[in-house]
Assembly symmetry: C2
C-alpha cells in the first residue's frame, strides 16, 4: 500500500509526502496529533493535518527563531517560550551559556509527552535543569508577569485552532510588559508569499506594540509552505538587525543554518515584502 500525507496549503495547492509508517495518532483536548515516519523528510509531527516539524529541516526554523533574538540581546538570562512543545526551540536556547532559566508554556501536554517519546532529536533538552515546562495557556501566563524575561519566543502553530490569540496586538502588548527593559520578542509569522495579508497585519500589530524596533526577517524552511518563512521581532532595547558579535567572529556553539552573516542577511527583504509592509 502507498501511504501519502496530503498537506493542504490552500484550496489550490497541496503538498504530498510519502509516509512509511504512522507511529502514533490521537485526538487530544486541543487538536489531532500524529507522529509519522517519512522516507523523504524523516520523522514528522503533524497537528490538525499541518506539518509542524520534520527531522530533516527543523534546524532552519529553530535556529532562526532562537539565535537571532538571543544574539541580539547583550546577555540573555531569562527566556520564555510560548508553544514550542516539540522541544526544538529549547534545544537551541540551552546552547547559550548566559541562559539561566527557560520557561516553556505549552497548552497541549500530549504534544510534549509524544515529542519526548518519539522525537528525542528535538526534545532531549527538556531534561536540562534550566528548563521549566509549564502546561498552560501562554496568553494567561504572559498577562500575569511584568519585566520578567529578557527574551520571549512565540513558537506557535498556524493561526487556526489553539494559536489564534497569539497573533493579536493585545497579546504583543502583553508580551511587551512581560519583558525587562532591554528585552526582545520574536514570533513566527507565516509566509509573505502564501498569506501576505496575515503577515502585513501581524507586522503592523508588532510595530504598534514595540516602538521603536520592530522588524520582519526571513528564513527558508523548506517544508513550511511555498515561499520563505517570516519571523517578526520587536525590541525594547538592542537593534536586532545587528548581532552582538562582529562579522567574521566564530560562534560559541554549533549550527547548521544560522551564521552571523545569515543573521544580518535575513533582514534584507525582497522588494515585494517591503511593499507588503509599506517599507518600499
Amino acid at each position: 500500500m502507498e501511504l501519502w500525507l496530503r498537506e493542504i496549503e490552500s484550496d489550490d495547492l497541496h503538498i504530498g509526502i510519502r509516509v512509511s509508517r504512522v507511529l502514533h495518532r490521537e485526538r487530544s483536548r486541543y487538536q489531532d496529533i500524529a507522529i509519522v515516519d517519512t522516507p523523504g523528510l524523516g520523522r514528522m509531527l503533524v497537528l490538525d493535518g499541518i506539518v509542524q516539524t520534520t527531522v530533516k529541516d527543523e534546524f532552519a526554523y529553530h535556529e532562526m527563531i532562537v539565535h537571532v533574538p538571543l544574539m541580539s540581546h547583550p546577555s540573555p538570562r531569562r527566556v520564555l517560550v510560548i508553544g514550542g512543545g516539540d522541544g526544538g526551540t529549547v534545544r537551541e536556547l540551552v546552547k547559550h551559556v548566559s541562559v539561566e532559566r527557560v520557561d516553556l508554556v505549552e497548552i497541549d501536554e500530549r504534544v510534549v509527552a509524544l515529542c519526548r517519546e518519539y522525537l528525542p532529536e528535538l526534545s532531549a533538552s527538556f531534561d536540562d535543569p534550566r528548563v521549566n515546562i509549564i502546561i498552560g495557556d501562554g496568553i494567561e501566563h504572559v498577562s500575569n508577569v511584568r519585566g520578567e524575561y529578557d527574551v520571549v519566543i512565540v513558537d506557535s502553530s498556524d493561526p487556526v485552532g489553539p494559536a489564534v490569540g497569539l497573533f493579536r496586538e493585545e497579546f504583543y502588548r502583553s508580551v511587551y510588559r512581560a519583558l525587562d527593559d532591554d528585552g526582545l520578542m520574536v514570533a513566527q509569522t507565516e509566509s509573505p508569499f502564501g498569506t501576505p495579508q496575515l503577515v502585513r497585519d501581524v507586522a503592523a500589530a508588532v510595530g504598534r506594540a514595540f516602538p521603536p524596533h520592530a522588524y520582519l526577517y526571513l528564513a527558508n524552511v523548506p517544508v513550511y509552505s511555498l515561499g520563505d518563512w517570516s519571523f517578526t521581532i520587536g525590541s525594547k532595547g538592542p537593534d536586532p538587525r545587528t548581532p552582538r558579535l562582529p562579522e567574521g567572529a566564530s560562534l560559541p556553539f554549533a549550527t547548521r543554518y544560522y551564521t552571523l552573516e545569515v543573521h544580518r542577511a535575513a533582514f534584507a527583504l525582497p522588494r515585494y515584502v517591503q511593499e507588503l509592509l509599506d517599507l518600499a
Copy 2:
C-alpha cells in the same frame, strides 16, 4: 471535474497544483510542452511535467538570475542567454540601458512560439530591437565564439533531457572563453536542499572553470522545489558579491524582488550550504 497537476519532486514528494484550464499541449521535437491556467499561481509553462515558470512567482527567479550579474559588471553591453525561451530573462535584461545586444539561444522553437502567444507578460521583450533570437544548440553557439560577451546567463531547465550538457565543466570552460576579459557567467543550479550532490558538483565545476571568482547565491522562488534556489556565478573580473552601486542608492529600474541589499544578502549562505560546498 477537478483537474490537478502533480509535479513529482522525488519518489517521496509531490506538489499538487489545481488547474483551471489546459490552454495548449504538444510534444515538440525535444519535450512535452503544456501551457495551463491555475487559480493559485496564474498561468504556467510546464515542460516534461515540471513547472518552469508561473506568472505569480517568476519575477523572483528572473530578477535574481539577471540583476546580480548585470549589476556586478561595470558596463554590460553584450549579453548571451542560453535557454530562457519564456522571455522572462530577456525582459529583465532590457531594463539595463547599457545593454546593446542580447543573443538568446533556445533549442526549442516551440517554447518561444508558445510563450509569445500565451505568456506576453514574459515574452513581450522578444520584440525589443536589441534582442536577437537564435534557435539552436547553446553549447555549440558558445563553442564558436571567443571574447564576445560581457555576461552569459544559463537559464536552463533541470538537468534531464535537453539541458544535461549545460551542467558540465566542459561547457563552463567554453563559456569562459566566450566571455570578454571582465565578463561574468551565471547559471541556475537547482536546490541545495533538494539535490545537494548536484549543487555541490556544479559549484565545484564552475569553481575550476572560473578562478578566482566563483560563488553560489540563493533566492527564494516559491514554486521551484522545496528549499531555496541556487545560482552559481563565475567572474573573470569584478567581484559579483558587491553591486556597482553603493548600498542605499536607488535602482534605475523597477523590481519586485531584487534590491541592492538583497544582492549582497543572497551570498550569505546557511551553514549547511557552506558545508556542502566545503566553505565552512
